[in-house]
Amino acid sequence: MRHIISILMENEPGALSRVVGLFSQRNFNIESLNVAPTDDATLSRLTVTTVGDDRVIEQITKHLNKLIDVVKLVDLTEGNHVERELMLVKVKALGAQRDEVKRTVDIFRAQIVDVTPSVYTVQITGDAAKLDAFLQAMSPIGVLEVARTGVSGISRGDKVLSL
């Protein structure tokens, strides 16, 4: 099963490489990963999506917790949560295609953020499945380049991941 794990870690050099290193060292899988500072300058938040059965996920969270730089973590998929990813896509847009791209962009509630005579650059946010669907819809027209941020997430309701 796919899990989204959010980690608060010390905003220190080396912390990120410890987390990433743990995954390769123990043969855990990383589907996506993003990391950025938080409102507290001493902490960064890292979100990783991974796939594994319960035993593997239990090992992943235990080993992450063992890292000295990891202050706190939560497996968002254990409860209700909001999951978002942002994607920028360049698609071919010539002649009749230009309208078709535009229509699909509207259906997906995406935005065109840059335009040239032959290319549209589209920005779209949503969960990973929505972004996949958008790419699929665009593929007959011609996807030129894709940049995805990886999944970020937060739990629903009053629960917060903070110190």
Binding site: R55, Q59, V71
Partner: protein, 574 residues
């Protein structure tokens, strides 16, 4: 207020922290620190002959004393030479602090002379690591390093110190930090009482219980408590290789150690148990054999200070996260005044166990026929006798290691000192040096093989310089015996590179360093040689004992089998 340079802060900190010995080797990036050490005499520096030996010596010191070992090396090759020793300590959860000189900050990343990203290189084999960014950080960084190394599940910590951090011209205020806190690190101090109660109920109801305990009991200083609990209940106990001596091996309740080359009765009892109480052990593959066939009828209680060790390879029915000592004490108070619920079942259980014991009695190995070479097993038995089972025994890795573990009987923890997790050839001799310095009045014996000894034999020079009187017994089978054994069993005796041609004349070699060496080939020469070796506690003596190269280590678990699937000799199996 005191103003000190970074280098002087390090020396002062080590003194304030109570560090007695540093094992190290100098070089450019560490020279400010070496100069600071020169100008003090509180902390003794031992100059080894190879940085790997420094880590093993610090490791041996740590295992025997329970205090963190300290290593000091220079950048680049000095630092990379410590890698095997750091990995050895990591696998066996040994507290150690490794201070590495580094090129000056402004050179980092430029492929400067002797620059290596040692923090990167060692990342998967340390508990944690630090890079010093400013000299004023030195006291707190070092305090954190020692605190992390020794607390919770212990392990090695690397501190990388760029040369400009120790510059003698820049001085800053020094205060010894008595305590440090890390917001993300709070090792557990006791187990969950509800879980402990559950475990104790299972223990009292068990019909075929076995205690299976490991290095965590030794590191956690919980041997006395364990012995108390096990004796109150009257249950059988087996330990891992790392847990040897946590319960007196000569006691009737001890089944010896378990696993690949563990005792027949221990492996049989584990396989047939209905309850396994694992404490400070990690169900490692050298213990469990095939996990899908592991102990099919047993419920499992697993106590460990490291939550990630629990249910890693074998699922626990009652997991308890906590230090061995406090959990065992709590178990004792819950057991107090209560009796096991099934005394008849337990009596029957002991009858079966004694039956397994009797099956193997007197059949452990074939003694040497007259005129035949000595058997390695009999040499270990003779060493045990000569030292009344009270020596510190270190080993290298191979057949001699397994024979030492099987035939020397340990009644105390921290006496059998071996590289269990990593299996590092070359560990034994430098580890013995580190122990002897902490226990000068005890016998410290390194049981080694001619393959392993040659990996660290340069340390004879260190022993000479500091007068370190360890005893070395070389079980010389003229081969990489353990490799040869596997080739006999799995490769139709094709001995690819497992022989040892061109061995040195060990006697001459040892004498070249000014020590005594005795070559032993016949049974009648063994006891006199041992007597001579142990006559003087301060003298290094090397016994080169020629043993039968055809001998195999048995029992040996059959690959992919269960605990009870064992080869018992070249011709018998269970």
């Amino acid at each position: 207020m005191e103003l000190l340079s970074g280098a002087d802060m390090i020396a002062r900190f080590l003194k304030d922290e109570g560090v007695e010995y540093i094992y190290g080797y100098p070089g450019g990036a560490a020279l400010h620190i070496y100069d600071a050490l020169f100008r003090q005499d509180a902390v003794k520096h031992i100059l080894v002959r190879h940085e790997q030996a420094a880590t093993h010596a610090a490791d041996g010191y740590a295992r025997a004393s329970g205090k963190p070992g300290t290593v000091l090396v220079t950048s680049g090759p000095g630092a990379t030479n410590t890698v095997t020793g750091i990995a050895t300590a990591y696998m066996d959860s040994i507290p150690m602090v490794v201070l590495c000189g580094q090129v000056a900050s402004h050179l980092i990343g430029e492929d400067a002379f002797q620059e290596t990203d040692i923090v990167g290189v060692t990342r998967p084999i340390v508990k944690h690591s630090f890079i010093v960014k400013h000299p004023t950080e030195i006291p707190t960084v070092l305090k954190k390093a020692y605190y992390l190394a020794a607390s919770g599940r212990p392990g090695p910590v690397v501190v990388d110190i760029p040369k400009d951090m120790t510059a003698p011209t820049e001085r800053y205020e020094y205060v010894y930090p008595k305590k440090v806190k890390l917001r993300s690190y709070n090792p557990v101090t006791r187990g969950h009482t509800g879980q402990i109660k559950k475990a104790v109920e299972l223990m009292l109801k068990a019909r075929r219980p076995v205690f299976y305990t490991g290095g965590g009991v030794v590191t956690g200083d919980a041997s006395e408590a364990l012995t108390d609990l096990v004796q109150r209940l009257g249950y059988p106990i087996t330990t891992t290789l790392m847990g040897i001596g946590a319960y007196p091996q000569r006691d009737r309740q001890s089944l010896g150690w378990l696993g690949m080359h563990g005792s027949y009765e221990a492996n049989m009892a584990m396989h047939h148990a209905d309850l396994i109480v694992a404490i400070g052990a990690r169900f490692d593959d050298r213990v469990t054999n095939n996990t899908s066939k592991f102990c099919p009828t047993a419920k499992i209680v697993h106590v460990d200070i490291d939550p990630s060790s629990i249910s890693k390879t074998v699922r626990a029915d009652v997991p308890i996260v906590g230090p061995a000592g406090s959990v065992i004490s709590e178990m004792i108070s819950l057991v107090q005044g209560r009796e096991p619920a099934n005394p008849e079942a337990l009596t029957e259980w002991w009858e079966r166990i004694d039956g397994w014991r009797d099956e193997r009695r007197g059949k452990l190995y074939e003694p040497a026929a007259p005129g035949e070479p000595l058997k390695p097993q009999q040499v270990i038995e003779a060493i045990c006798e000569a030292t009344r089972g009270e020596a510190f025994v270190t080993t290298d890795v191979g057949q001699h290691q397994m024979f030492a573990a099987q035939y020397y009987k340990f009644d105390k923890p921290n006496r059998f000192i071996t590289s269990g997790g990593l299996g590092t050839m070359g560990f034994g001799f430098p580890a013995a040096m580190g122990i002897k310095q902490n226990y000068p009045d005890d016998d410290v014996v390194c049981i080694t093989g001619e393959g392993s000894f040659q990996m660290m034999m340069q340390e004879l020079s260190t022993c000479k310089q500091y007068g370190i009187g360890v005893k070395i017994v070389n079980l010389n089978n003229q081969s990489l015996g353990m490799v040869r054994q596997w080739q006999d069993l799995n490769y139709k005796s094709r001995h690819a590179h497992s022989y040892m041609e061109s061995l040195p004349d060990f006697q001459k070699l040892i004498e070249a360093y000014g020590f005594t060496a005795i070559r032993v080939e016949r049974e009648e020469d063994l006891l006199p040689a041992l007597e001579r070796a142990f006559a003087d506690k301060d003298e290094l003596v090397f016994l080169d004992v020629y043993v039968d190269p055809r001998e195999h280590v048995y029992p040996m678990q059959v690959p992919l089998g269960s605990m009870r699937d064992m080869l018992l000799s070249k011709t018998e199996r269970t």
